[in-house]
Amino acid sequence: MSTSTTESVTVPDPPADSRVGRFVWNLRYHPKRELWFAWWVMVIFYQLYGVLFFFVTRVQPPPSPAWDTPTVVGWFDDHSLGVRAGFGVVFLVAGMCAPMNALLAYSMRRMSVSRLFAYSYLIIYSLAAVPGMLVMAIAMTVGALRPDRDPEMIHWLYDFAFLSFSGTMGVFMIGSLVYLVAVLLDKNRVFPKWYGYLSLCNALTEVVVAPAWIFHRGAFAWNGAIAWWINMVVFVLYTGVFIVLLRKLIQREDFGTGPLPEAVR
């Protein structure tokens, strides 16, 4: 059974004068508000992520796996407050990933491929944040919690955090592959084909991080020139690109202001 859910509220015209007024109007009446909401959550999340990981907690760029135990303990001492406060904010806002993944899954629903892709992507990326971000946050926080803990244990937590962060990229790799296959097969041209190929590059860089599990120093360590720096450049570029492409997608959507779609039972 489905009820027709036509808007019974007549939509007033947007106010032409104040910005606040228009913002409020957008929140209440804009036909694409759900999409814009998700898009803005994504943009704000990435900015927060950058600030928190690079400046507050300073876990990026990562310190070296080659450090000896006293240096690691010293690092925790210096960064203790930043780590605990910064990751506290992460523990508050990590849920912002959900609308972001929802938007990407929605973009796949607009494609001509099966719903399977959208749902797979949603699950894969919802999962990805646990080992790839939250476990690191937990391990780092516990590391900073007791400065008088056995230094060997602090060193273990340090390894646990950074390896969990860098070394669990398999999830993102498979997610990227699902996405890229969807983009390349799509006949609705939701995204340009070069974006599919870019996703391939991104997926391959997830593979490139794997040697971080093996090396303590050099280009392939978790802070290495190849395993971190080049990867970070690709990641930032890729993220920037899909933020822009999603924006264009939302702008192209033309729901109009007609009757709403039939509610799905």
Binding site: W194, Y197, C201, L204, T205, P211, F215, K248, R252, D254
Partner: protein, 197 residues
């Protein structure tokens, strides 16, 4: 309904003579080349800091195998180029044979690469032996991953050429572009790892 992402399909078809295959693939080529340039730069920088070690380790590599690999891939590129030409002329049977020839040469390359790795490992040079071999295994492995993806891409080309219902020239050319890139990257790796001393 959603409008189309790029409303230039007709333009693409017309300028097929200018830009073989999808223009998007060329973006990918550009990006991969930039990425590999990054990897090569890291290799070269770390080489300057450790010249002796690198020279010594490079001596363990057999130049002949490197040359053989290069020839195999060059032959495969030649085959796919013939395939594209045949397909353009409508000689689909010949195109199909050439595509399969490309795959064969690719397999020759892959097999010889694996055998080379086995040989090096027997000699005691593994991924973790020293910095040079880190880079060696890394560059050759990531190249091999591209070759494996190349097989999938060639599979798409073969699939297209097989039945008259498909045969999109653009798609075949796109696949060829990818394969040429794989060959091109190998030539660079060969030069860097085997030749430059």
């Amino acid at each position: 309904m959603t409008n189309l992402a790029d409303s230039q399909p007709r333009l693409e078809e017309k300028s097929a003579k200018f830009v073989p295959g999808q223009p998007d693939m060329w973006m990918f080529v550009l990006f991969e080349t930039l990425l590999f340039t990054g990897y090569f730069s890291v290799y070269l920088v770390s080489r300057t800091q450790n010249e002796q070690l690198y020279l010594q380790s490079q001596a363990d590599l057999d130049l002949r195998i490197g040359v053989f690999n290069t020839i195999a891939l060059l032959l495969s590129s030649w085959a796919i180029a013939r395939c594209v030409k045949a397909s353009r002329e409508g000689a689909y049977r010949s195109a199909l044979i050439n595509a399969l020839l490309t795959v064969s040469f690719g397999l020759v390359f892959l097999t010889s690469k694996v055998l080379e790795w086995v040989k090096e490992i027997h000699m005691g040079n593994t991924f973790t032996s020293n910095e040079f071999f880190q880079h060696y295994y890394f560059l050759t492995s990531i190249h091999c991953i591209h070759v494996l993806i190349g097989f999938i891409v060639l599979g798409v080309a073969v699939y297209q050429l097989w039945s008259p219902a498909r045969r999109s020239q653009q798609l075949v050319e796109t696949c060829a572009t990818y394969w040429h890139t794989v060959d091109f990257l190998w030539v660079l790796i060969f030069a860097l790892l085997y030749v430059v001393r």
